[in-house]
Amino acid sequence: MAQQAVALLHNLGYSNVRDYRGGLADWVDSGGPLESATGEASASDLATPIGPALAVSQDGLAGRGPARISRGRRGNDAIPGFVERLSTFQLFVIWIGAVLLSGFGYWLGALVGEHGLVEGGVPVGASLRGLGSALYFSFVTATSVGYGDIVPVGFARVIAVVEAVAALVVFGAVVAKLISHRQDELVHEIHRVTFDERLDRVQSNLHVVITELLSLTAICEGSTMPSQRLAARLDSAVLLFQGELRTTHDLLYQPRLLVEEGALASILANLSSALEVLAELLACLPVDFSRSQPMEIALGNLIRLAGDICGNCVPHDYTPRLVFWMDRIQVTSRRIR
């Protein structure tokens, strides 16, 4: 396909055209960044493999296994990048660390005199007991409880202010992280469920299309129905068919989305036989049968979409079974006139 494109461009007079042979499949597999229509880059750097890591494994479970979706979902704008990379546990450790460090700060303040803590009017000494009081004060400050039984004086006040603000921010990040993790899970689950339902609908609609087209073919061969009613039924069947074909087509051309093999095979097989039945039906229709305008457009779309589906042009390597059905769809689409 790309080679045809190169040839076409050559004929148009473009002299310096090269082909990236691996195509989108190779790009994604090797972890190349992608952009979607909204313009957002889904992977920030080349080093992060997005393809294999997120692609759904074809685990060979035929039938109705869950169709998992993979998306380059990352980045929550509320949390800056460096916090993003830390785990909740790491953040919590940082918080504890900051509290302990500040505690030592207050304790060391007592060594220099007048810059430490005061408990009930008496300065807290630089003893072991004093260390305990300093750590206690540090936690009370960090959690913004502030009992007031111990108060800082001198330079310790500066430490207390900085600690209070920093601890608040870090703790906020911990909480945000916990919540956003749960939200990510939910969003993923919603995606998965809607996706499954969508696939189910494609399958059942294709079934309806095939049944309808078959019964129309039987009617056409017996010609017992007024052609007006037949035309109306054909119209609706072709429109439904076109919609489901578009969904499947777009699904196959999602560079980062792999559908579970069993479900996809059944959809592709249904598409292929629906195309065959449609070709037969159109061949059977009388010569004077007039196609409506919407029907002409829908048929045109059908041929174009089906012609785009082939094992070699979609940006994924599928199993031979799936490639067979894709190629079959493309070949069959040429029989539709």
Binding site: M1, Y14, D308, P315
Partner: protein, 81 residues
């Protein structure tokens, strides 16, 4: 896609770009990247900076999209065909 599936035409003398060179020059503004996949595919995901020029629209849209015929162009599709 007019290609006959039964008789694939292998054009061996089409110049190629390696993945490594492509990666390296991804941000090179003198390089024009063309996505010749269907528009739906382009919308779902494409190589950064790539322009959408579906195969069937090349003849009609290329002159308008790329007025300069000497510009360096990289073309890609789904995978090697």
């Amino acid at each position: 896609m007019q290609s006959e599936l039964d008789t694939p035409t292998i054009v061996s003398d089409v110049p190629e770009i390696s993945r490594e060179e492509f990666r390296r020059r991804l941000n090179d503004a003198s390089l024009t990247i063309l996505d010749v996949l269907p528009a739906e595919s382009y919308a779902a995901g494409h190589i950064p900076r790539a322009l959408s020029l579906p195969l069937h629209s090349i003849a009609s849209n290329a002159p308008e999209l790329l007025p300069d015929r000497s510009v360096e162009i990289i073309v890609y599709c789904g995978k090697f065909t």
